[in-house]
C-alpha cells in the first residue's frame, strides 16, 4: 500500500510540478520547498490531489512541513489517513 501511495505521489510531482522531467525529482527525504519543487500554490495543489486521488480529508492544521515537506512524509501521512479511514469503516 505505501509503495503505491509513494509511486502515485511521485508521479503527481513529476507531472504537475516538474512537467514530466523525472530527472529532477528529489529523494524521498529531501525537502520539497528547499528544492523549489512546491511553493504556496503548489502545496494547495498537493492537498487537492491527495483529497481527490486518495479520498482523504486534509484539515488546515495538518498542512505542516511535518506532513508535507518530503515524499516520505507525504506517503506516511496518506498511509496513516487511509488506515484510519479503513479502521473507521469496519
Amino acid at each position: 500500500m505505501p509503495q503505491q501511495i509513494n509511486a502515485d505521489i511521485r508521479a503527481f510531482i513529476v507531472e504537475n510540478f516538474l512537467f514530466g522531467d523525472e530527472s529532477e525529482i528529489p529523494g524521498d527525504d529531501a525537502s520539497l520547498i528547499e528544492n523549489d519543487i512546491v511553493d504556496s500554490t503548489g502545496i494547495l495543489e498537493m492537498v487537492s490531489f491527495l483529497e481527490e486521488h486518495f479520498s482523504v480529508e486534509v484539515a488546515d492544521p495538518e498542512i505542516v512541513p511535518e506532513n508535507f515537506d518530503t515524499i516520505a512524509r507525504l506517503t506516511a501521512f496518506v498511509a496513516g489517513k487511509s488506515k484510519a479511514k479503513a479502521a473507521a469503516s469496519t
Binding site: 528547499e34 504556496s40 494547495l44 498542512i63 505542516v64
Partner: protein, 630 residues
C-alpha cells in the same frame, strides 16, 4: 539612407519632426517629440560655431535656472529649448555637465573639432540608450530596433541575459537581451574617440550619510518642499502636461500638487480592470472628483492584454515575466488620443520612501529569524499579503518555510530579495538542455551581488533592499518595460517627480525607521504630505499594481499563443524544453491553480517566443551594402 532607416525604426518616439546631421566621420539622426521650444528646438542641433552637434531625448527640468546661470556668464542663446542649454553647458564643463542636469535624458554630442562623441544617460535610467560596435564603427540609438536597421547587425538572444531575466526580471546593464548590443547603464557617461570607448559612472544612490540628528519635523518639511518643487519643474512644457492616476498614494499626491500648479486644468488618465482583484477605479474616481480633473479611463482585461501583447514585446525589446506593461501600453494610447504628449507619474516613491511589500517582508523575515520556531510571528506575512489567497490556508511553519526563515543567511547582501529570486528562478525549470548547457553554473544572483558598492554591507537592511530595487528593478523593468517603452510606443513622455535626484538624495539620508515605521510603509511621505489628499486615499494600504497573467492568454487562447507553444515553434527557438512547455500550456488552460512560478514561466516563454519571432527571425540577413560609419 542608413540614418533614415535607423530613425524610421523608432519614429514612434518622435512623430513631430525628423532631422539628420552628417559630418565627415559621423552622422546622427533624430525624431523629435516636440514639448519645449516647439518652434526652434529642431534636432540634431548645432552650437553657434558649428563645432558641437547634439541629438537628445528627454527633458532637463532645471533648464531655465541653468540657462540663467549660463547667460550671466556670457552665453547667448538662439532658441528657447532645453537642448541648447545642454550644448552650452557641455561647451563650458565638458563631460561634467551631466552633474548639473536635473532631468530624464539620453543624449549624444558630436564634437567635430576633436572627433569625439560624448554620450550620457540620466541617473535613474528613465530614457534608454543602447550601443554596439560593428566592423569598427560605433552605433547608438534610443531603441535597439534602430541598431537592427544597420545591415549586418543581427538579433541573437543572449543566454546570460535570458538567465538574468528569468531570475531578476531584467538584464543587468550593460547586458541586453541582444547578444553584442549594450545599454549605457543609468548614471553613466561615455566618451568615444579613436575607435575606443570609456565609460564612467557619475552618480550613485548612497545610504552612507544618514542624518540621525535631524528632527522628523524638519525631514517632513524638506520632503514636502522638495516634492512640490520636483512637481513644479516637471510641469514645464510648451504643451499641456497630464497625469496618470492609479488611485494609490503616490500618483494621487502628484496629481493633487499638479492640479494646484496648473490652474488652467489637468487631465488624468487611469487603467481600469473588470476583475476587482486588480481594479482601483473607486479610488481613481474619488480622487478625480476631489481634484476636478478631466478624467479618462481605459479598460484592460484579459482579451485586451492578449491582443496587445505582441506589440508590447516589440516595444519592450526583451522577454518579460509579467503582463504589467500591457495595460500601460493601452493607457499611453489613450493619452495620445486625447492630444496630450507628456504625463506625470508616481514611479519612484515606492523605492525611495520604502513602499514595496518586499521591504516589509524582509523586516518580518528578520523578525521571525530571531525566534525561528515561533508560531505567532509568521502570521505577519498574511498581513502584508492580504491579496494572496494562497497564503490564507498556510500554517505558520509553512509560511516560515516559504520565506526562508531558517535557510536564508542574514548576512547575505541579497537577503531581502532571496524569496523573490528563488521563486522567479524556478522558471528556469523550462529552459532547454542546450540553454542549460550554455549557462553551466552561471548565477545571475551572484553577478548581481558582485556589482554592489563597497559600502553596501555597512548600510541598514532596509537601505540595502531599497538600493537593490532602485538600482536594478527600477531601471530594468519599472522605468523601461512598464515605463518609457510603453509610453513612447505611442509618443508619450512620462515624468517622475519622485525621481528628482534632490528628493532621492534627501530620502536616502533619512533613517530607515522614519521611512518604514514598523510595518507602515512610506511613513515619512504620508506624514509630510498630510492634508494634500483625502485621508481615505492617503491611509489606504498599498495595493501593488498587478494585471491578469497567464489566464489572459489561456481562456480564449489567441492563435499566436497556440502557435508560440507549438512543438515546431519551440524547437525552432530552442530556448525551452518542448515537453515541459507543452505541459505547462496544457496545465495553464485546465488547472484552477496557477501559482507564481507557473504564471511567470508561461508569460516568460510566450514573450521569449514572440521576441524571437519578431527580432531573431526578422533581423538576420546578409545585405551589407549600406554599411556607412556612424
Amino acid at each position: 539612407m542608413l540614418l533614415t532607416a535607423m530613425s524610421a525604426a523608432i519614429a514612434h518616439r518622435g512623430p513631430d519632426e525628423a532631422g539628420i546631421h552628417i559630418a565627415d566621420r559621423a552622422g546622427m539622426a533624430h525624431c523629435r517629440l516636440a514639448i519645449i521650444g516647439l518652434a526652434d528646438g529642431q534636432q540634431p542641433m548645432a552650437s553657434a560655431d558649428g563645432r558641437l552637434h547634439i541629438t537628445y531625448n528627454g527633458e532637463i527640468f532645471n533648464y531655465l535656472e541653468l540657462r540663467q546661470d549660463l547667460e550671466s556668464r556670457g552665453h547667448h542663446f538662439r532658441t528657447k529649448s532645453d537642448t541648447e542649454v545642454v550644448l552650452h553647458l557641455y561647451s563650458d564643463l565638458g563631460p561634467a555637465c551631466v552633474e548639473k542636469l536635473n532631468g530624464d535624458f539620453a543624449f549624444a554630442i558630436h564634437d567635430t573639432q576633436n572627433e569625439r562623441l560624448f554620450l550620457a544617460r540620466d541617473r535613474f535610467g528613465v530614457r534608454p540608450l543602447f550601443y554596439t560596435w560593428h566592423r569598427g564603427c560605433f552605433y547608438f540609438a534610443s531603441e535597439i530596433k534602430a541598431l537592427l536597421a544597420v545591415p549586418g547587425i543581427e538579433a541573437h538572444l543572449d543566454p546570460l541575459a535570458l538567465d538574468q531575466i528569468f531570475t531578476l526580471w531584467a538584464p543587468i546593464p550593460p547586458r541586453t537581451a541582444f547578444e553584442g548590443i549594450c545599454e549605457l547603464p543609468p548614471a553613466h557617461r561615455m566618451i568615444v574617440d579613436n575607435g575606443a570607448a570609456r565609460i564612467q559612472r557619475y552618480w550613485d544612490l548612497d545610504f552612507s550619510d544618514i542624518h540621525h540628528d535631524r528632527s522628523e519635523d524638519r525631514m517632513r518639511e524638506e520632503t514636502r518642499a522638495l516634492l512640490e518643487d520636483a512637481t513644479r519643474i516637471r510641469l514645464r512644457a510648451d504643451v499641456q502636461v497630464g497625469t496618470y492616476l492609479s488611485g494609490g498614494l503616490d500618483s494621487s499626491l502628484i496629481a493633487a500638487l499638479a492640479k494646484r500648479m496648473a490652474p488652467a486644468g489637468l487631465s488624468s488618465f487611469a487603467v481600469t480592470f473588470s476583475d476587482p482583484a486588480f481594479d482601483e477605479s473607486g479610488f481613481q474616481n474619488e480622487m478625480a472628483d476631489v481634484l476636478g480633473t478631466a478624467h479618462h479611463t481605459v479598460d484592460c482585461n484579459t482579451d485586451e492584454i492578449a491582443s496587445v501583447f505582441p506589440q508590447v514585446i516589440r516595444h519592450a525589446e526583451l522577454p518579460i515575466l509579467r503582463t504589467g506593461p500591457a495595460p500601460l501600453y493601452r493607457l499611453s494610447s489613450l493619452v495620445r488620443s486625447k492630444g496630450i504628449k507628456a504625463v506625470l507619474s508616481g514611479e519612484g516613491a515606492d523605492e525611495i520612501f520604502a513602499g514595496y511589500d518586499i521591504f516589509k517582508e524582509a523586516r518580518i523575515r528578520r523578525f521571525c529569524a530571531r525566534q525561528s520556531g515561533s508560531q505567532l510571528r509568521p502570521h505577519l506575512f498574511r498581513r502584508i499579503y492580504p491579496y494572496l489567497a494562497n497564503l490564507k490556508r498556510q500554517t505558520p511553519d509553512y509560511l516560515a518555510a516559504y520565506f526562508g526563515i531558517t535557510t536564508d543567511c542574514l548576512d547575505d547582501p541579497l537577503y531581502s530579495h532571496r524569496p523573490r529570486l528563488r521563486s522567479t528562478a524556478g522558471t528556469k525549470l523550462f529552459f532547454s538542455e542546450a540553454i542549460k548547457k550554455k549557462l553551466g553554473d552561471y548565477s545571475a544572483a551572484d553577478e548581481l551581488a558582485s556589482t554592489l558598492p563597497e559600502a553596501f554591507r555597512e548600510w541598514h537592511p532596509l537601505h540595502q533592499a531599497q538600493y537593490l530595487e532602485t538600482r536594478f528593478l527600477l531601471p530594468g523593468y519599472i522605468l523601461s518595460s512598464q515605463g518609457d517603452r510603453m509610453a513612447m510606443a505611442n509618443g508619450i513622455e512620462t515624468r517622475f517627480p519622485f525621481l528628482d535626484h534632490r528628493l532621492v538624495e534627501h530620502a536616502a539620508r533619512v533613517p530607515a525607521d522614519i521611512k518604514l515605521r514598523g510595518l507602515r510603509e512610506k511613513h515619512l511621505l504620508r506624514e509630510a504630505m498630510r492634508g494634500t489628499i483625502p485621508e481615505r486615499i492617503a491611509e489606504r494600504p498599498k495595493q501593488p499594481y498587478r494585471a491578469p497573467e497567464a489566464n489572459a492568454f489561456t481562456a480564449k487562447a489567441p492563435d499566436y499563443v497556440k502557435a508560440a507553444f507549438e512543438k515546431t515553434a519551440l524547437e525552432e527557438t530552442g530556448v525551452f524544453d518542448v515537453e515541459k512547455s507543452t505541459r505547462l500550456f496544457k496545465k495553464s488552460r485546465l488547472s484552477n491553480f496557477t501559482g507564481f512560478r507557473d504564471n511567470a514561466a508561461f508569460v516568460g516563454i510566450l514573450s521569449t517566443q514572440l521576441w524571437s519571432q519578431h527580432f531573431a527571425r526578422q533581423f538576420r540577413r546578409t545585405d551589407e551594402t549600406l554599411a556607412v560609419p556612424v
